[in-house]
Subunit: 287 residues, 2 copies
């Protein structure tokens, strides 16, 4: 747990609810670039008493900072003894190609938690492997955390949490999401990103679509999804009803809650994040 | 309570903890410029059941957004039925003069909650009158709030909360602060700002210095101050021991709490904001 990896550099630390919020820089092998992530360590986390980890995947345009600054999650995380890791949302750096027009929904800040197969994206855009393999190994090697993991996220990150959790039920105890992109292969955000990252053959896209994955995978992780009905992206990009339908057909354990008047912002997330932490705590403690 | 003032324009609204966070733009008469502020209205606030208001004054470089996004105050505010108003930290706009070198500690984002007497600052930099008179009148005219007010703030805003509260005990029930600039007339941040805004005659400065004010004013409001001991500004700019000493000599009701390991950030504020809301709720309910 001592920080011996020369590529892991502490950038900041701040005490919060008796635990610690810290940011780190490291060189990612799978992404071929320097990456930043943040971790919240609850007060009781020690090498003798390692904490389980909730991985939080953020939405379009975000970095490691949005959730950590705006979600108001630390009081409950400290109380429950859960660590939180917030990665960035894409590879970063001058060498990393971006949307030619600098659009917010593709390229930098919009990695969609998949492994790109197309040039010029595939050299860096390998966020699926980064989240599933490289980052947990780094975190477990350097911090007082256990191997127990849950996964959650918002919007594009909700899509990431659902698809990564559904594909890796042996790695995570539970999945949750706020306002996730549930069925990316049929909505504009997903179709644009998948066409570039994965190519024109849309048969390849189903591997990163929660609705499609539920059709073919045994559905064995509990899922909690919260969605506001005043979210301007609800009908055009998110489509929670498609996830509900797919979960029902698959016999998956999905709780979808619609919330009257709430929008797509972190104000929505902070209103319900403690319930997500309590949801994950139930399963993290069972294991 | 209907919004009839043509100069009060709603810029955003988001539901949070069953209440509403809203941002407004209006033309300020005392500041001679357009100003933005934010309000959190707890769910139970109605014209028949108006909520008391906590005015929150932010620190150097902040706008109305920092506290509202990062302080994690709304769950407790909703529970206690307290509205929160967060003004900007200075006049704004192209006509408003700024520090010639664009420094963060003077000019835009650094109004120090005083009424400037010196050109070219005095035309716009009248934040004391804005906070004490104009803004509460606007808020009470347009929102379901009562005339009951408490005041709090951080750093430069902690200085503002202390000085404004001490000078206006009939307007507020209670004062609190995080990491306040306690004795601005003897520290670099305060001396730079006061010299420009108030002129070289430092005898005029005591009107905006909490330590000096406590020497001459009857101290009749309860004060709660939280300070982290890992705050890099503690010894050079904040000096809570001077406030403690002045309060003791004045017989003022000050609780100063030092917190081991905490810094100057919103991570510190979010760790203790619920205790500040509970502190103010006690006095707001007594009145």
């Amino acid at each position: 747990m001592s920080i011996t990896n020369p590529s892991l550099t502490n950038l900041s630390k701040a005490k919060v609810f008796d635990g610690w919020h810290k940011q780190y820089q490291h060189q990612s092998e799978v992404l071929n670039c320097g990456m930043r992530f943040a971790i919240y360590l609850p007060p009781e986390a020690t090498p003798e008493n390692p904490a389980p980890v909730l991985y939080w995947l953020s939405g379009l345009t975000c970095t490691d900072e949005n959730f950590m600054q705006k979600a108001a999650a630390f009081q409950k995380a400290a109380e429950l003894g859960i660590a939180i890791v917030a990665p960035d949302t894409s590879p970063r750096g001058e060498d990393v190609p971006d949307d030619p027009e600098g659009a917010y929904d593709f390229g930098l800040g919009a990695g969609f938690y998949l492994n790109a197969t197309q040039a010029p994206w595939k050299k860096h855009y390998q966020m699926y492997s980064y989240i599933v393999d490289e980052l947990p190994k780094l975190v477990e090697d350097h911090f007082p955390v256990s191997g127990q993991k849950a996964i959650s996220g918002h919007s594009m990150g909700g899509h990431g949490a659902l698809t990564i959790g559904i594909k890796n039920p042996e790695k995570y105890t539970s999945i949750s999401a706020f306002s996730p992109i549930c069925h990316p292969i049929i909505v504009p955000w997903g179709r644009k990103a998948f066409r570039h990252y994965l190519g024109e053959d849309s048969a390849q896209w189903a591997e990163y679509d929660a609705v499609e994955l539920l059709k073919s995978r045994p559905a064995n992780l509990p899922m909690l999804v919260d969605q506001g009905d005043a979210d301007t992206f609800l009908r055009g990009q998110l489509l929670p009803e498609t996830l509900e339908e797919a979960a029902k057909e698959a016999g998956a354990e999905l709780t979808l809650r619609m919330h009257s008047g709430y929008d797509h912002s972190y104000f929505f997330i902070q209103s319900f994040i403690t319930e997500h932490l309590e949801f994950h705590a139930r399963y993290l403690k069972e294991k």
